[in-house]
């Protein structure tokens, strides 16, 4: 079943058509790749789907619900959560508190309750802390729980970004270039983490330039060029598609 459906999506910036009548479906439980040369419109898809940027035309539905034009935090609260190209963390907090902050955005803790630190509040806080430690453990970060986020190596910071996203209990994760700028070791580690996240039932839409990562992870792939879909299918099909090869060669890029 398609968890996310994009129908006839068009986005214009003045005279520039960044997306043109795009149709795209992400099947529940899958890892779906979205690739294309620089400026193809990948980030624009994410911006429109998550409500950061209104579409010129088209409809986006999530779990059969029309979410076109909803505001970003409303979209997120439905379970559609996005991470950004650059890791963005609270540098002044510990790793654990970073995840807790993500949790708090969804917990039902009242201001007064927190201020008075009532027994029921303490119970909730303990439960949240347990949950967040569980997430860190799941992503292999439990050893760093008490370190300042600013002191983590790059690869771990990106993993922490994933942990913070998981704290908001997403059904669909939109990952924008999660392995860009990583060395091969870090890339392999992050790929494994993404697999693990999928195994607990989170669907993933992956935007990425690293072909090895995309081909290794994705069940299906959509290829964009100049805002249009030029190919779609399994990694195998896409890799051998002459139109795709042409598009990447044409821009000096490299399809593996």
């Amino acid at each position: 079943m398609a968890l996310l459906k994009i129908k006839g999506l068009t986005k214009r910036f003045g005279g520039l058509t960044a997306l043109s009548e795009l149709n795209l479906e992400v099947v529940e439980g899958s890892i779906h790749g979205l690739i294309g040369p620089n400026g193809a419109g990948k980030t624009t898809v994410l911006n429109v789907v998550t409500g950061f940027s209104p579409p010129t035309a088209g409809i986006v539905t999530f779990h059969e619900q029309d979410i076109t034009g909803k505001r970003p935090h409303e979209v997120a609260r439905l379970g559609l959560v996005r991470t950004f190209q650059q890791a963005t963390l609270f540098h002044s907090f510990t790793v654990l508190v970073n995840v807790i902050v993500g949790c708090h955005l969804h917990s039902q803790i009242g201001f007064l309750e927190a201020l008075l630190n009532t027994p029921s509040h303490q119970r909730k806080e303990r439960a949240i802390q347990e949950k967040c430690l569980g997430i860190l453990k799941f992503l292999g970060l439990e050893g760093q729980a008490q370190e300042l986020a600013a002191n983590l190596p790059h690869g771990h910071q990106r993993a922490l970004g994933l942990a913070i996203a998981l704290a908001s209990e997403p059904r669909l994760l939109l990952l924008d270039e999660p392995v860009t700028g990583m060395n091969p070791e870090e890339t392999a580690r992050m790929m494994e983490l993404i697999q693990r996240v999928r195994q607990i039932g989170v669907t993933i839409l992956l935007v990425e330039h690293d072909m090895k990562a995309v081909m290794g992870l994705c069940d299906s792939i959509t290829v964009l060029n100049f805002g249009r879909k030029i190919a779609e299918g399994s990694p195998q099909e896409v890799r051998e598609d002459p139109v795709v090869i042409e598009a990447y060669l044409g821009t000096g890029g490299h399809a593996a």
């Binding site: 970003p72 935090h73 997120a76 609260r77 991470t83 609270f90 002044s92 907090f93 902050v101 955005l105």
Partner: protein
Amino acid sequence: MGEFGRGIWEGLRLIFGGDAEVWRIVLLSLWVSGMALLFSMLSGIPLGAWIALSRFPGRRLLIAMVYTGMGLPPVVVGLFVYLMLSRSGPAGILGWLFTPWAMMLAQAIIAFPLVMGLTLSAVKGINPRLRPQLVSLGATPRQATLTLLKEARMGVIVAVIAGMGGIISEVGAVMMVGGNIEGHTRVMTTAIVLETRQGQYSHAIALSFILLSIAFVLNLALLRLQGRSLD
């Protein structure tokens, strides 16, 4: 030396002997400066955060004005508040001149740009990508702003300390608009000025000790806060 030593001894006796006049002055000072600080925090922290996080025409000019306001000379504020509240002034009808209300107003005006300006620069220093990431995680605009303030908490605490420091030890404005009336608008700083002028060193020394201790304790309390995460 004799006079100095005697003054200190007398001062300590006044503090620990619970001299009613000394303690009334201290409590009034805390009440006036505390309320002024509270008001400047309630307005300055959200406004500073808002200016830091939003984009609108004239923002740079506004920021320049806020930073200029951080250096307002207290006597100039005193003069302004005096003219506003004097019987023929635009707010003269309130009848606030030479009351604690006038002093609170003047001190709030002094502390407000300090609190706002330092909050502004603290929040402005946060990674600009943090806000969209928070919103993408489901934070409402209000939640996102509050969470950003947590990341900037050190800077906000410094803003509050600077605001308190700027007014608890301030003398010019409270003197002008409060009038240093015994039992009514006499606060620590104005009392110290008066007692010293009259040669009553023991009272002045006692009050100086208390003023120093209050500043010390406040700073300590606020600094401890930064250790604790504010969630």
